[in-house]
C-alpha cells in the first residue's frame, strides 16, 4: 500500500517543475545564441523578458520546498532529493541569468559586424551547453551517477572551446570598434563556459542524491597540490 501520499505528490510536483525550468533554460540558451548570431536586438529583448518564466519556476520551487520541509519533515532519500532540488534549482536559475547576460551584450554590439569564426565557436559551445543541460537533467531523473560523471568530459570540450575563443579574440587586432566588441565577446564566451560548469554541478547533485556523498567531480585545489 502506498504511504505518505502528500509527500510523494509534493516531490513529484517539485521534480516536474524542475524539468519544466530546465526546458525553459534550454530555450533561453538557444534564443540567446540566435539573437547573437543574427544580431537581433528584439530577440535579445525577448530572451531577457523570458527570464521571468524561469524565475517564476525558481520561486515556486523555493516556496514549495519551504512548505515541504516545514510540513513533511523528509528524511533519508526524500531529504537528499529535496536538498538536491534546491541546488539544481539554483543552478538552472543561474544558467538563465547567463543567457540574459549574453542577450544584454548582444544588444550592445549588434551594430558591429561580427567575426564569423568566433560566432561559429559560440554556436558550438551553446549546442554543447544545451546537450549538457539535457544530459544532466536526464541523469537526475534516472538517478544515473555514471551519466552524471560523464558531464566532466563534456565540460572539458566547452572549456577548450572557450580557451580557443579567447585566443582568437586576442588576435583580432587593434581596431577600437573590434576591441570593444572583442571584450564583450570574452564575457559571452565566459557565460557559455559557466553554463557547462553549472551542468557539472547538477551532475554532482545527482551523485549526492544517489550515494549520499558530497563530492566535487573535479578538484582544482587538489590538482594544484599535485
Amino acid at each position: 500500500m502506498p504511504m505518505r501520499i502528500p509527500l510523494q505528490q509534493d516531490l513529484d510536483t517539485l521534480q516536474a517543475t524542475l524539468m519544466e525550468e530546465g526546458d525553459l533554460c534550454a530555450r533561453a540558451i538557444r534564443g540567446a545564441l540566435q539573437a547573437l548570431r543574427e544580431r537581433d536586438p528584439e530577440l535579445a529583448d525577448e530572451v531577457i523578458t523570458f527570464d521571468d518564466e524561469v524565475d517564476s519556476r525558481y520561486l515556486s520551487i523555493e516556496v514549495a520546498v519551504e512548505s515541504l520541509l516545514a510540513r513533511q519533515t523528509p528524511v533519508a532519500s526524500d531529504l537528499r532529493l529535496v536538498l538536491s532540488i534546491i541546488h539544481i534549482n539554483l543552478a538552472l536559475e543561474r544558467i538563465a541569468d547567463l543567457c540574459v547576460t549574453i542577450a544584454k551584450l548582444t544588444k550592445l554590439v549588434y551594430a558591429v559586424p561580427p567575426d564569423t569564426k568566433l560566432i561559429e565557436a559560440f554556436d558550438e559551445m551553446a549546442v554543447r551547453g544545451e546537450e549538457m543541460l539535457k544530459h544532466s537533467l536526464d541523469a537526475f531523473m534516472n538517478r544515473d551517477v555514471a551519466a552524471a560523471e560523464s558531464l566532466v568530459d563534456l565540460d572539458e570540450l566547452i572549456d577548450r572551446a572557450n580557451r580557443r575563443a579567447v585566443h582568437h579574440l586576442m588576435a583580432l587586432g587593434s581596431n577600437p570598434e573590434m576591441r570593444e566588441w572583442g571584450l564583450r565577446m570574452i564575457i559571452v564566451s565566459r557565460c557559455l563556459e559557466r553554463i557547462g560548469d553549472h551542468c557539472v554541478d547538477i551532475g554532482e547533485q545527482v551523485a549526492y542524491l544517489v550515494t549520499g556523498e558530497f563530492r566535487e567531480f573535479t578538484d582544482a585545489s587538489a590538482e594544484l597540490r599535485g
Binding site: 505518505r4 533519508a76 531529504l79
Partner: protein
C-alpha cells in the same frame, strides 16, 4: 513482583543488607569486550540476545554496542520488541512469568544475566523511566527521598533531593512547594520528577521507555532538552515511536523491525544500528529507509 510494582520501584528497591552483590567492573564476568568504535567507552555490549516470552521469541539475535555518555535511540514499528529489549538492559523482564533469554548483555564487561549478578543492584545502576509518569502518591520531596532512604543514602538528604531536582530541570518550578503532592504537578513536571527520582540514586544509565509519548509538545521539548543535558553525566537509552524525536535527541539509533516468519512466528530483529545522522540521511538497509521515510507497510 508484578509489573506495576516493578514500575513503581524504578530501580530503588530495597535489596537487604548483605544480600546485594555489587557490580564491580573490575571483578567477575568474562573478559571485557573489545573497544567499540566510539569516542566514548562501550557501556553495554549486547551479543546475540534473544528474548522469549514462553516459547515465543519477542526479539531475536540482537547484537550491538551502546556507547557511554551518549543518547542511543531504539526505533521501530509496534510489536518489534523495543520495550522488551530495553527492559532486558536492567532485567526488568525478570518479573514476567516465562520470560527468559539467550545470548548476553555485558555491562562494562560483566554479563548482566550472570548468576552472581543481583537484579536489584542492576536496577540501582541502570534506572528506568516509563511512558506514563508514575509518581508515588506522596509529596514532591518524598518522591525523591523515598528511594534514597531505602538505599541508605540518608546523608545530606535535603541536598540530594535538591540536586536531583536541579539536574532534572524541575527545581525552579517546585522549590517553594516541596511538601505538595506530586500528583498536583502537570504531566511534564511529573515525568521530570520521575527522571529526578531515577537520577537521585546516582545510576550510571537511564533507560527511557517512550518518556514523552503522553506529553504535550512543550513538555516534550523540555524532556528532550533534559536528555541533551544529562548525557554529559549519564548514558541514556530511549525507546521512542517518534522518529523525529530520535533524530533530534539521539547520537546513535538502532532500528528494530519484525523478522520474516520463522517456525510460524515473527520476532523483533535489529535491522540497522548507526549514527543517527546516517540513519536519517543515508540508511544502509532498504527496510530502514522505508520506515524512516514513512513508507513502511
Amino acid at each position: 513482583m508484578d509489573y506495576a510494582s516493578a514500575e513503581m520501584a524504578e530501580g530503588t528497591e530495597q535489596s537487604g543488607d548483605g544480600l546485594a552483590k555489587a557490580i564491580d567492573p573490575t571483578q567477575l564476568g568474562p573478559a571485557a569486550p573489545s573497544p567499540a568504535p566510539f569516542a566514548t567507552p562501550t557501556v553495554f555490549k549486547i551479543e546475540n540476545l534473544t528474548a522469549y516470552y514462553g516459547k515465543a521469541p519477542a526479539v531475536r539475535d540482537v547484537s550491538f554496542d551502546v556507547p557511554g555518555n551518549q543518547v542511543t535511540a531504539i526505533i521501530g514499528p509496534s510489536g518489534c520488541g523495543k520495550s522488551t529489549f530495553i527492559r532486558c538492559l536492567n532485567r526488568m523482564n525478570d518479573v514476567v512469568p516465562g520470560f527468559h533469554t539467550d545470548g548476553s548483555i555485558y555491562f562494562h564487561g560483566i554479563d548482566l544475566q550472570g548468576k552472581d549478578v543481583d537484579p536489584v543492584n542492576v536496577r540501582r545502576q541502570i534506572g528506568m523511566v516509563f511512558q506514563r509518569p508514575n509518581p508515588f502518591p506522596k509529596s514532591i520531596f518524598d518522591n525523591i527521598a523515598y528511594g534514597l532512604r531505602i538505599l541508605g543514602m540518608k546523608d545530606n538528604l535535603q541536598d540530594r533531593v535538591e540536586h536531583a531536582l536541579k539536574r532534572a530541570a524541575l527545581w525552579e518550578e517546585v522549590k517553594d512547594r516541596l511538601k505538595d503532592s506530586a500528583l498536583a504537578l502537570s504531566g511534564g513536571q511529573q515525568q521530570r520528577l520521575c527522571i529526578a527520582r531515577a537520577i537521585a540514586i546516582e545510576p550510571e544509565v537511564i533507560l527511557l521507555d517512550e518518556p514523552a509519548s503522553a506529553l504535550d509538545p512543550i513538555s516534550t521539548a523540555s524532556i528532550e532538552d533534559l536528555m541533551h543535558e544529562l548525557k554529559n553525566d549519564y548514558t541514556i537509552v530511549i525507546v521512542t515511536h517518534n522518529m523525529q524525536q530520535a533524530a533530534r535527541v539521539a547520537d546513535m539509533t538502532a532500528f528494530f523491525s519484525l523478522s520474516e516468519v520463522v517456525d510460524g512466528r515473527r520476532a523483533g530483529v535489529l535491522v540497522e544500528y548507526d549514527r543517527t545522522d546516517k540513519i536519517f540521511t543515508t540508511p544502509a538497509d532498504k527496510r530502514t529507509e522505508d520506515y524512516v521515510t514513512g513508507r513502511f507497510g
